[in-house]
């Protein structure tokens, strides 16, 4: 008996790939990569048991397998359906799938508030991308959206339940990464909400990862709250020696200030390695990190806006032309400007800035 496993041959949007038995269609598509990968809001490859909730990854199976070539009559969630030998799947080539996905996005946005201008996730929000790529322009929903009060879960994490799409990723993260489970989903149906029992503070060492895992702005970093927009910050890869985690992170910097620390995310928005809360919330000093270089950001992302890569700063020739005299400065912007005042270190303020933070001289 040969130890070699038989590989299943799958065709996704007419591209063939050979994968091991037991692989899901979504992961087979990710092996191919590119446009044909179905979007996923709830599936997270690093979390066991995730997926099957948001229905954005719906695909059409046009041929079940070589043994049974009948198509699957309904669209299937590709993150939860395993491949069969000889299976043929249509994702972007099927108008039915595109139409269904548009409907799914409309459903996800039913109760989602339109507060992207305020939300800290804007610019790196998966629901924004999904709505932009697959969604309809308007909504047909005429009723009141469900609303919840904002909750502080722990002193570093803010929960906006209004924005939540109930993907359960954060619940799985808390289950699998931390020692004790302290938060879960309470209620059912429309009343379902992420909650900690009796608003118990989450104080595990790895609980900050729920922020990275959240596809929308439901769980956000309170130490970064309203500090800046992500597209004004420069993401750099950095690492430090951490005894709890790998210490490999992305620093979101502006000048020398570290505004936010996140884990490194891959092209599907999934973290490469989870990081601990000490790295995420408490190490906001650039000196504590070894900076490796700028993070590669997809150039279609708004985060890459106004980031000038590979620019050459021209040599200052004025002093040469003027026989060594330096030019008379007509204005130093910091003497006039009220923005970026040196005495206010926004990144050092615990939690969001308030009016009195700006009033102090």
């Amino acid at each position: 008996m040969s130890e070699e496993k038989k590989l299943f041959k799958v065709k996704i949007d007419n591209i063939s790939v050979e994968v091991e038995p037991g692989t899901t269609i979504l992961n087979a598509a990710r092996r191919i990569g590119g446009d044909i990968v179905p979007p996923a809001m709830c599936y997270y490859s690093k979390l066991e048991g995730s997926g099957g909730k948001c229905r954005t990854c719906l695909v059409k199976v046009t041929k079940g397998s070589d043994a049974d070539p009948r198509p699957i009559p309904k669209l299937v969630a590709s993150c939860r359906t395993n491949v069969m030998d000889g299976m043929e799947v249509a994702n972007i080539t099927s108008p039915e799938v595109q139409e269904a996905r548009k409907g799914v996005v409309e459903f996800l946005l039913l109760n989602h508030p339109l507060d992207c201008p305020i939300c800290d996730q804007a610019g790196e929000c998966h629901l924004q991308d999904l709505g932009y790529e697959h969604g309809a322009d308007g909504t047909r929903y005429e009723f009141k959206r469900r609303t919840f009060e904002q909750v502080d879960i722990g002193d570093k994490i803010k929960l906006h339940m209004t924005r939540c799409i109930l993907c359960y990723r954060c619940v799985f993260t808390a289950d699998q990464l931390t020692n004790r489970r302290e938060h879960g989903v309470l209620g059912r149906g429309e009343a379902a909400e992420i909650g900690t029992y009796i608003h118990k503070a989450l104080d595990n060492d790895f609980i900050g990862n729920v922020i990275d895992v959240c596809p929308v702005g439901a769980l956000t970093d309170k130490t970064f709250r309203f500090k800046n927009r992500v597209w004004f910050l420069k993401p750099v890869d950095a690492h430090r020696n951490c005894d709890k985690c790998c210490g490999k992170t992305v620093l979101w910097m502006r000048g020398d200030e570290v505004f936010r620390v996140t884990a490194r995310k891959d092209q599907y928005g999934e973290v490469e390695e989870f990081i601990c809360d000490t790295c995420r919330f408490e190490t906001k000093d650039a000196k504590a990190w070894t900076i490796e270089g700028p993070r590669r950001i997809d150039r279609h992302s708004v985060i890459s806006q106004s980031h000038y890569v590979g620019t050459v700063k021209p040599k200052e020739t004025i002093t040469d032309v003027m026989d060594g005299r330096s030019p008379r400065l007509l204005m130093d912007i910091h003497s006039v400007s009220q923005v970026n005042r040196p005495e206010i270190d926004l990144s050092k303020i615990e939690g969001p800035a308030h009016s009195d933070d700006f009033k102090k001289q």
Binding site: F226, S335, S337, V339, N340, A353
Partner: protein
């Protein structure tokens, strides 16, 4: 040599005729054109007293708008700044505290907002990008100034006066 364009005019180098040598007819002709303009419509206006009408799409100085209750509309979402091709707009956001609800419309607001009018090219992209109808370009010029620092417009310069405060005065 082959001409680069078809608009080349060969220079007339023939010697002057007797009439041309007199010069005076040509001078009279020129002065006639000059004096004719006295009786024509003036192309200029005497500016401070008289002003030209603006086009309805004129894009002038920015204002930051308030809503009906006099609260600031801007939430410092940064879309104007990212849309700005001249990178003239900068801002810093803050969270609204309890008790400030009459000042700011949303829970987040611009604690400082600044437009560098030296950089601004008055393209109006900020107005287009604004999701909250907060920034508008008016039909006013940015006034002249002797110093560069007069062109850095802060939030107090841009924000329109509170309609409620006006009533009490």
């Amino acid at each position: 040599m082959q001409a680069l364009t078809d608009r080349v005019k060969p220079v007339d180098r023939r010697p002057l005729t007797f009439m041309e040598k007199l010069y005076l007819p040509a001078i009279w002709k020129g002065m006639a054109i000059t004096f004719k303009h006295i009786f024509q419509k003036k192309a200029t206006v005497s500016y401070p007293e008289e002003k030209r009408p603006f086009s309805p799409v004129f894009r002038g100085l920015h204002i930051l708008n308030r809503d009906e209750e006099g609260r600031e509309r801007c939430t410092a979402c940064g879309l104007c700044a990212v849309a700005c091709p001249a990178e003239a707009i900068t801002m810093e956001a803050a969270e609204r505290k309890p008790g400030e609800e009459h000042l700011y419309r949303e829970e987040k607001y611009a604690a400082s907002y600044e437009i560098n009018m030296l950089r601004c090219i008055f393209c109006g992209f900020c107005e287009e990008a604004c999701p909250k109808d907060a920034i508008y370009l008016t039909e006013t010029f940015a006034p002249a100034n002797y110093q560069r620092k007069g062109f850095i417009y802060g939030k107090e310069d841009l924000l329109i006066p509170d309609p409620k405060e006006k009533q009490t005065v």
